[in-house]
């Protein structure tokens, strides 16, 4: 049975969604439109002259092997960030949900990192892992493991994933905790009386009931990994060594704001926009089916 609310006034519903629509128009459609428009031009940095090139910027991009390769890097990075930040957050939320004494303090501490800006998160991790002066790099060295993310692509990727995921864990934690607390205790207690173990209760009752939250977080985390992580990359690796941590959004940032190549940068944001749209549609069509509301 589908629930339906009927408005008597024809205009009221539109009026109610108007503020949200306005925000979306001004902060999403307008800049997105600008990006699409600019992707057909090669402007000079100061905006003194522009040249129309049609699809030239896209041809230039896809003719470049390094750009094509950065799709794979982005995929690896996004999957790692999403999976690690969501699974750790869920684990922490399950643990925090069971804490009775001092739960407020635990929660506050776990939510704290969310207040840190991506670039600062990057610098914090860089301090710990600096091959020469970082404390963790030093400790790894003592254990006989050489840490040098300026030369080792795998280590560099691990470091940017850790810094990006660390920040996002707090956000995911908040939602998971709220989701856990909304699950009726009676269902879980009934299962417990039937003799179901903790993990059995978790996988058969809690996890399915959490699925709307998990799905929402999946969408949000993928978007975060795709769009919001250039600050971390910029401060830690600048895309290197070689191109091992050059993800698509970092290239948009560095070509546009460091290299002043606004045409290419605009074309790249259009590519990214299309990509994330496709991903989101796929998520809603195929994964949402498994979600129980």
């Amino acid at each position: 049975m589908e629930k339906r609310v009927v408005f008597n006034n024809r205009w009221l519903p539109y009026l109610l969604v108007a503020p949200q629509l306005l925000v979306t128009l001004v902060f999403f459609f307008w800049p997105a439109g600008q990006a699409i428009y600019q992707s057909a031009f090669i402007p000079d940095p100061f905006g003194l002259s522009t040249r129309f090139v049609g699809f030239g910027n896209f041809e230039y991009l896809f003719g470049n092997r390094y750009y094509r390769e950065s799709f794979l890097t982005t995929a690896v990075f996004s999957v790692l960030v999403t999976v690690s930040s969501m699974s750790l957050a869920l684990w922490l939320a399950v643990l925090a949900d069971r804490v009775i004494k001092g739960s407020g303090a635990y929660r506050t501490l776990l939510i704290w990192p969310y207040a840190v800006a991506p670039a600062i998160a990057g610098v914090l991790w860089l301090f710990m892992f600096n091959p020469f002066t970082g404390i963790i790099a030093w400790m790894l060295g003592q254990m006989g493991y050489t840490w040098n993310h300026t030369l080792d692509g795998g280590q560099a990727m691990a470091l940017v994933v850790a810094a990006s995921a660390w920040k996002q864990i707090s956000y995911n934690f908040l939602f998971f905790l709220a989701g856990l607390q909304a699950i009726p205790k009676s269902v879980i207690e009934a299962a417990a009386i039937d003799g179901a173990s903790f993990w059995r209760r978790f996988w058969t009752i809690v996890f399915p009931l959490l699925s709307p939250t998990t799905f929402f977080l999946l969408v949000v985390n993928v978007i975060y990994a795709f769009f919001d992580t250039f600050g971390v990359i910029h401060t830690i690796t600048k895309g290197g060594p070689e191109q091992s941590t050059t993800i698509l959004v970092y290239k948009v940032f560095s070509d546009g704001f460091v290299g002043q190549d606004l045409g290419s940068s605009a074309a790249q944001s259009v590519v990214l926009l299309v990509l994330v749209t496709i991903l989101t549609v796929v998520q809603f069509r195929f994964i949402e089916r498994r979600v129980h509301y």
Binding site: D44, F46, L48, P241, E242, V258, D261
Partner: protein, 436 residues
Amino acid sequence: MKKTIAAGVVAALLSGVAPASAATQIDFWHAFTGRLAELLDEQVAKFNASQSEYTVVATAKGNYSEALNAGIAAFRAGQQPDILQVFEVGTATMMAAKGAVKPVYEVMKESGLPFDQSAYLAAVAGYYTTTDGQMLSLPYNSSTPVLYVNKDALKAAGLDPEMDLSTWEQVGTALDALKESGSKCPLTTAWQSWIQLENLSAYHNVPFASQENGFAGLDTELEFNGPVQTKHIETLGQWAKDGKFIYSGRRNEGGAPFRAGECALFTESSAGYAGVKKEATFDFAIRPLPYWSDVEGAPQNTIIGGASLWVMEGQTPEEYKGVAAFFNFLSSAEIQAKWHQDTGYLPITMAAYEATKASGFYDENPGTDIAIIQMTGKAPTPNSKGIRLGNFDQVRGVIDEELEGVWNGSKSAKDALDTAVTRGNELLRRFEQASR
């Protein structure tokens, strides 16, 4: 510390007093932080105190890339500052932006203040001058790479701390001994593209790019995959494999371990002097950048890095007069000599160099004149005047990426340089397209 506070108070008082006297405000956006920003603020405070017509307001806008970016964004919004500090890599971008910048020679001419272009060091001013000799931006902080030596580390390896390190062959011998004695970081470098490729090319009188390294036209192509450069990168790659050359990052990350005494040899800008002098607890020396003795004509001369001051278009004549007065002040021998001695940047005028020499500074601080001698020792050739390329920041990014492939052993030197040339040329063609 006390001095800093006092300077801060003076600066605050001055800027607080300024609006009351209705002086014309000159906005100056720069990219300095830390000690350099303090020294710059000191210069500005001195200028503001020296006259009452103009007040220069200096604002830090992040690093070089960020400052340039802020200037461009401000210009697009019609809010540009009067003076913008732009690093040498952004020179071609600024030159192509006719209508956004006002050439310095014009500003000086209109102001009626005395301005003698020949007073500036040719090797420095040439970088910022058109082919017909008109100065477009004012040289401000220019440096050139030199070799920093930790003498205690050499001694510990059983080497003579005064040993000759003027060629890479000699450096190689020293590295063997250092490695042998258990040094964890025999050699490291800052700014690999600038020092190990751009300056290497100029120093050995081989082209970095066609069209006189870009000075003669936008249709320039990269040429740094020649035999001299390939041999050098190959050798460094071998040293990296043997643990004699330690890669520390794309910028000057190697400074921290050198100053902490971990690295024995360090190629870095002459402007790294202030930091080394302040922090090093060991006996150090400055030496000229090494060269390959088997290359004919080497050593030629090294080229500069650093930044210059650009005047932005669209301000009032009154403000331009103030800019001219400020530039004259900055170029004065007294200010330049102090700047040179405090920071390790090159003096931009011959007079400042002479004044420093006369003061006995070079005798008290041996090695501080090496940068200037190395730059001006020989008359520059088309290969050693400098490098002026569009999208240069991105070209350097490409070079960084490819060199990292050599240092971690995944690519041969030849392969990496060839790829960097191909990829860099694409960026040059793109810039040519945008500026046509």
